[in-house]
Amino acid sequence: MKLAQILVVGLIAVVSPLRAEVAHVAVAANVTDPAKEIAAAFKAKTGHEAVLSFGSSGQFYAQIKQSAPFDVFLSADAARPQALAEEGFAVPESRFAYAIGKLVLWSRTLDVSDGEAILRAQNFAKLAIANPAAAPYGAAALELLQALGLEQALRPKIVQGATIAQTFQFVNTDNAELGFVALSQLAGVAEGSRWLPPQRLYGEIRQDAVLLKVGASNAAARAFLDYLKGPEARRVLEKSGYVLP
C-alpha cells in the first residue's frame, strides 16, 4: 500500500516537473492557425495547456460579459478588450497589443491584383466580408469600401460571414468570387490572386490580448500571455502575415 502511494506520487513528480494547468483561451477567428501553432509550442515548453476556442471578437465579448469560462481573450481589435477591462471583466494592466492585422482582398477565380480597379468595375456577383458589427476585419473592410466611395454601390453584392473564418470559406468554396479576409488566413495558401490594400484606406487593426478576471489566478493563463509576448510567438505571428507592434 505504502509502496504504491510512493510510486504514484513519484510518477506524478516525474511526469509534471511543474504543476501544469489548463488555460481556456478565446481566440478571434483570424488568429486561428498561428494560435494553434503557438499553443502547441507553449505546451511543449511550459507543460501548461492552452485550450483554444475560435469565434468572432463580438461573439466572445458578449459571452465573456456573461461570465464565459475563458481565462484569456485574444481579440481582433483593441476596443473590446478595453471595454471588458473597463467593465470589470478583464485585468486592465494585462492588456497589450500582440499583433497588427492586415486586410487582404482574395479571389480564387478573378485576378484581383489591382483590387481597387476590380472593386470599381463591380464586375462580380458577390463580395464577402465578415460581419462588421461583430468582426473587426469586417469593420475594416467596410471602412475601406467607404474610403473608396463604393459602399452604397456594392452593398447589394455584399455577403457577410459570421466570422472572418466563414468569410474565408465563402471565397474558398467560390460561392463568393472575392472577399476581404485576414492576411494571416492566406499564410499557407498559394491559390488565387490577392490585393493588399494600402493602410491609408482603413484604420489600423490593432489586436489586443487581455487576461480575464476568470483567469486572474490561473498560472497557465499568465504564462500563456507571457509566452505570447516572447520571441517564439512573435516569430509565428510575423510569419503568418501580421505586423508586430
Binding site: 458578449a62 460581419n131 458589427a133 461583430a134 467560390d174 460561392n175
Partner: protein, 229 residues
C-alpha cells in the same frame, strides 16, 4: 449598445422574410410531400423505406452537415450553380431560392411524416368501398382519403412552417446574412446577441418563445379534436 434605435426596420424585415420563407417552404412541401406520403403509405416496394429513411435523416443529422453539403451543392461547381446560371447568377448560396431549397430538405420529415401516418391510419377498407362504388382512384383520393387525413395535413403544415421558422444552422451556413434576402429571424437574433444589442434580441427571442408555445399547443389541440374524427 442595447437600445432599439434603428433596429425596428431590421426586425420587421427579418420577420417578413421569415414568414415568406416558411410559407413558401410549407406550400412546396405540401405539394411535393402529399404524393410522396401517399406512395410511401400505399406502395409495396421493398425499398420504399429506404426513401422514407433518407427523407427523415434531417431529424438526426446536425444542421451543419446539411449546411456543408448545401454550400457545395449550391455553389458554382455544384448543380445549384448550373441552375443559377440559367438566370445569370453564379451560385444559389446567399439567395432566397437557396434558402427555400435548404428549408424544403430540412423540414421535409415534419410535413411528410404526419401526412403518411394519417394515410396509414385510414387503411385499405374505405378506399375499397369507394372503389366498389365506382369512384376512380383519383376521386377516391380527394373525396375519401384526403378528408380523412385532414388532421395529418394540418399537423404537417403547422410543423413544417414552425420548423422552418426555427431553422438556424443551415441558414447561417448558406445565407451570408443579407438583410431582406437571407437574414431570417433566427440569424437576426444571433446577430443581435453577438453585437450586444440585447433589447432587440429580447424582443425577437421573446416573440419566438410565445410563437413556439402557440404552435405546439395548436398541434396538440388539432390532434385531439380531429385525429379521432
Amino acid at each position: 449598445m442595447s437600445s432599439l434605435d434603428g433596429a425596428g426596420d431590421d426586425i420587421g424585415q427579418a420577420i417578413r422574410l421569415t414568414l415568406a420563407l416558411a410559407s413558401l417552404t410549407t406550400v412546396i412541401l405540401l405539394l411535393l410531400g402529399t404524393p410522396l406520403a401517399w406512395w410511401l403509405s400505399r406502395s409495396r416496394r421493398w425499398w420504399k423505406e429506404m426513401i422514407a429513411t433518407a427523407l427523415a435523416m434531417p431529424l438526426v443529422l446536425p444542421p451543419t452537415v446539411l449546411g456543408f453539403y448545401l454550400l457545395l451543392a449550391l455553389g458554382p461547381q455544384g448543380p445549384g450553380g448550373a441552375l443559377a446560371s440559367l438566370w445569370g447568377a453564379r451560385t444559389l448560396a446567399f439567395s432566397f431560392p437557396g434558402l427555400v431549397i435548404g428549408s424544403v430538405l430540412y423540414s421535409a420529415p415534419f410535413v411528410v411524416q404526419p401526412i403518411r401516418n394519417a394515410f396509414d391510419a385510414i387503411g385499405e377498407r374505405p378506399l375499397e368501398v369507394a372503389a366498389t362504388l365506382r369512384a376512380s382512384p383519383w376521386r377516391a383520393f380527394w373525396t375519401v382519403a384526403a378528408p380523412l387525413a385532414r388532421a395529418g395535413f394540418l399537423t404537417g403544415a403547422i410543423l413544417g412552417f414552425a420548423h422552418t421558422v426555427g431553422e438556424f444552422g443551415v441558414v447561417l451556413m448558406i445565407g451570408g446574412n443579407i438583410p431582406g434576402k437571407t437574414k431570417v429571424l433566427s440569424v437576426a437574433i444571433f446577430d443581435y446577441v453577438e453585437t450586444s444589442q440585447w433589447g432587440a434580441a429580447h424582443l425577437l427571442a421573446g416573440g419566438m418563445v410565445v410563437f413556439s408555445f402557440c404552435v405546439i399547443l395548436a398541434t396538440t389541440l388539432i390532434e385531439k379534436r380531429m385525429g379521432r374524427a
